[in-house]
């Protein structure tokens, strides 16, 4: 398998996958392993690295596949493949939205989708907090109050909760 041909694999996956980055990663994994480019274990490591950096997960995963095979240049090449389809799609849609977004039927459709997204989010949230104990739930609650009632912006809430939890668990470990 020519590693430059993988560009088209990423292009295809990015074009055909609806539902954002988390829907894309399992398909990337399947295709990459099927083509025998990277083994399952290596992909798992690479994916956990991709998750440890900020930014869209599908973009980071594509970049890490390129990094693994050859280096940053190939990584950027794959990122371009993931980037092109949504860029074209939104370019087309941006002008349409102004004209059609407020039509009743479009609004009903978008409202339906919003319910779908809520369900996906609930499912995703449960996955995240599955292993939480009472301490984590306490921080989750405090964080939610900060963001929702005190109206602290999401970025600061993220920093505050992460930092406080880090300090708190660090101290507890030292005490015991």
């Amino acid at each position: 398998m020519n590693k430059y041909k993988l560009f088209f694999t990423f292009l295809k996956i990015s074009t055909l996958t609806l539902g954002g980055g988390y829907a894309m990663v399992p398909i990337i994994e399947r295709e990459i392993i099927k083509k025998n480019v990277i083994q399952k274990d290596d992909f798992d490591i690479l994916f956990s690295k991709a998750q440890s950096a900020p930014g869209p997960i599908a973009i980071n995963t594509a970049f890490m596949v390129g990094m693994k095979l050859s280096g940053a240049f190939l990584g950027l090449f794959y990122v371009l493949a993931v980037f092109i389809p949504p860029f074209l799609a939104i370019s087309l849609i941006a002008s349409l939205i102004k004209r059609y977004a407020d039509l009743t039927y479009v609004q009903y459709f978008l409202e339906g989708i919003r319910v779908g997204i809520s369900v996906i989010l609930i499912n995703f949230l449960f996955g995240l907090i599955k292993k939480f104990k009472y301490l984590e739930f306490l921080f989750l609650l405090i964080g939610f109050l900060l963001i929702h009632l005190v109206k602290i912006s999401s970025i600061y809430t993220l920093l505050i909760v992460t930092f406080l939890y880090f300090i708190f668990t660090l101290k507890r470990k030292n005490d015991s």
């Binding site: 440890s52 599908a58 949504p86 370019s91 939205i97 978008l110 609930i122 939480f132 989750l140 999401s154």
Partner: protein, 174 residues
């Protein structure tokens, strides 16, 4: 304007840990509350549209805002800003990770980050739920979908198109 868009999304990109769903809450805060580039309704519409178009949601939103304010160049640079921090950090991590993880307890840091990210996902869930479930129709769709994922135990990506279709279908019934 192009430089401003680039910097706004660079900031969003830098803090968007945990993928698209947690960055929704950050994007909403920065674009709707802080910089007032779009209204809450436009944001919600765009999130729905991003779900039925190719590519990561955050990328779709960055491209849309960029194009809205500074045409295609704006769309390009907004998206570039969004993905650049992650790529730079990944390159740094690849070269420094073995050294860093020996010296510091990174696992603990990532665990803390996960708690922080969960807060953002919880808030995004709250935001979506309260704007999605507004009448009996949406409540019916919600219940249907919940039952569906409870039975199927996994979420098919097409559930989004399905729920949009239900949104259309139920107009006439209720």
């Amino acid at each position: 304007m192009i430089a401003k868009l680039f910097l706004i999304f660079l900031k969003i990109g830098f803090f968007s840990y945990g993928g698209g769903w947690s960055s929704l809450s950050i994007i909403k805060d920065e674009l709707v509350n802080v910089y007032k580039l779009i209204s809450l309704k436009e944001f919600l519409d765009m999130v729905s549209i991003a779900e039925i178009t190719p590519g990561p949601i955050a990328v779709n939103l960055a491209t849309y805002i960029g194009i809205k304010y500074a045409s295609f160049i704006g769309g390009f640079f907004a998206t570039l800003g969004l993905i650049l921090p992650g790529i730079i950090i990944l390159i740094l991590l690849e070269t420094l990770l073995s050294f860093l993880s020996k010296k510091y307890n990174l696992e603990k840091f990532y665990k803390s980050l996960k708690v922080g990210v969960s807060v953002l996902v919880l808030y995004a869930t709250y935001l979506m739920l309260t704007s999605a479930i507004i009448d009996i129709k949406s409540l019916i769709i919600f219940t249907l979908l919940l039952v569906l994922i409870f039975v199927k135990k996994e979420i098919h990506p097409l559930i989004i198109v399905f729920s949009g279709g239900l949104g259309l279908l139920l107009i006439k019934m209720i």
